[in-house]
Amino acid sequence: MGWLKNRFVYTFGGIALAILAWNVWVVLNDDGIIRGEVVSASGAPVEGATVKLTERTLLVARPRGETLTDADGRFTFTGHDLHHLFLEASKEGAGHAGPLEVRLYFKGENVNLHTPLRLDGTT
Amino acid sequence: MAGGADNAPALEGRRRGLAGLIPGSRKRSRDLALIWLFLAPSLAIFAIYRIVPLIWNAVLSFQFWSPYKPAEFAGLYHYEEMLFYDDAFWQTLWNTLIFMASAPVGIVFALAVALLVDTNIRGRNVYRTIFFMSYPVMTVAVGIIWQWLFNENVGLINYVLIELGIIDRGIPFLESFDWALPSVILASIWQVIGFYMIILLTGLQSIPPSLYEAAAIDGANALQRFRRITLPLIRPSLFLCFVVGIINSFTAFDLIFVMTGGGPGHATDLLITYIYSIAFRLSKFDYAAAITVVNFLLFLALAFLANRLAGGEAGAVKTGG
């Protein structure tokens, strides 16, 4: 098996392993779930805010979904297949937030947004 | 220039090189058949992709023709047009000559580098690799990269020049009549210099060290050794470099296509880009063919001139041994 020990095998084997590992990671994390939170200008969770999801690629920008926040101000999108998107939140009387740019490493990556969308309080 | 020790046994007699080493070479005729058989595939490829197209161009250059019309005899119409009325032809010809004349600049620089990495310093292979690394880069990508390095507003080159206090505001290198051609040439030299270096290194390494030692004993200094031994002995390599330099003025096509498109005006148009745009942008294939023929003859003449300067070694373009 000595002929296996050369730099060509090492390099391409290494690349193949890296690709394999990456694909396993992708398969485990590509449910297309986006979780986040909408808060008011004072920082309190906002229920019933509309959150809009916009797709962005090199060529197009188009709306891809809408949802409402629950009682804790949290929202969830499922099953998206995007890698570059914008989130925008608004609620009558509580103002507007965003657009917040979200870039992902692969299409449909699961993501938990750590910074909440903060409504600006304008009407 | 067939190399190898010529102490062949009598039975293989007059033949040199590897002659007679392959089975079935007992008879001269079978031998010849084998030689031509070996040459056939390469010759066929060159015939299809070089010679036939050249003949096609030569025939076309005496006709009026376009993809949409039947051919018609034109005599010397296109040649007359080119030589007496087409200023752009003369400008592109001039640009091509400048472009080729810049090859020696690259070759001199490459020779300097080659001499330095031919010493026994540490890490010489790393240096060799770095210098050669730009050659494999796709020409389209070279164009894109350098286009931005030369950019008037955000280009690195302008930034460095401004920081050094050489200029006050950015120069639009690729848009300027004066700077566009030198800029393209610089990018082209960057790409091809590693190739020159490797060719020259080949030549340097084939010089037997004993020659230098003998010269040193005779009291020749470094400069004398370089002029008396190095330069004469790397003449074949230098010739190959010049040929590559000439050819480079049409492999630079992609570069110019991406970086300037031949502009501003015709400031960076070389013959090859001009021929291309006449044929495909103006649909004048007949006229383009006439320029092609002139271009070919010119280059051939230059190659043979270079060959004469190199001491008639064209048949022995060698990169090893």
Binding site: F8, L58, L59, H83, L104, Y105 | G4, A5, N7, A8, P9, R15, G17, L18, I22, W36, L39, P41, S42, L43, I45, Y49, R50, I51, V52, P53, W56, V113, V117, T119, N120, N125, Y127, R128, I130, F132, V137, M138, V140, A141, I144, I145, N153, V154, G155, Y159, I199, T202, L240, F253, D254, I272, A279, A288, A303, V317, K318, T319, G320, G321
Partner: protein, 270 residues
Amino acid sequence: MSRYPHWPIHLALSIASAAMLVPFYWVLKTSLTGENIFTFPPSLLPESPHIFYYVDVWYAIPFLRYLFNSIIVSVIVVVANVVLNAMAGYALTRDFPGKGATILLFLSCMMIPFQVTIIPAYLITSEMGLLNSYVGMALPLASTIVCIFVFKAAFEAIPKSLIDAARIDGVPDWMIVFRIILPLTKPAIATNVILSFIWSWNSFLWPLVIVRDAQMQTLPLGLARFLSVVEDTTGALYAFCVMVLVPGLIIFLLAQKEFITGLTSGATKG
């Protein structure tokens, strides 16, 4: 030559190397940070680098398909070059009537730029039914003149006494070829592999005209295609440049040991 101190040589070479490497650095930096075409001065170090431009590119074009096509074409070209050039190079070491004319023909062929041959070459390829095929893309590069001369030089440099001695010892001919000739010409083979790989990997205009099917595009075509779509999005464009360059550079760096020896030590020292 070891009488001289080494540091001035190192200094000179380091400066020159740095100059040669700047474009590489710049393309890599820009692919990670993007470039705002309105900001001056440009930042020399990458600020908040990220790899999202690569993600954008990955999803904007069928990169793997292009890569696959490029590899297939290059493999055909490389194999054909090694075989055909070795044959032609060997033939040129022999004496035969018409040798001078053949060499002259080869040298003249070098002076015909490929761009002007497109239309007739296209018609011939079309007659052969090779449009839109890998072989059609590879054929014009299947034998290259510089490489023929590389082989010729390598064969000429093999000492004939070596082979005669082997033959007298009763070594069969096929073994002579594989045990003596091939090892001695290994550097020439490496040279052929690298140069023909570079030329086919970067070939642009020919694939452009003979490929009609989007599924058959090669990387340079993809790059030009991409350039027109994102003419102004430098981050993504540079990311694609890097993606196009990396496979070629990996191959080069892996094979460069043989290559550099191939071109520099010459066949005599094999």
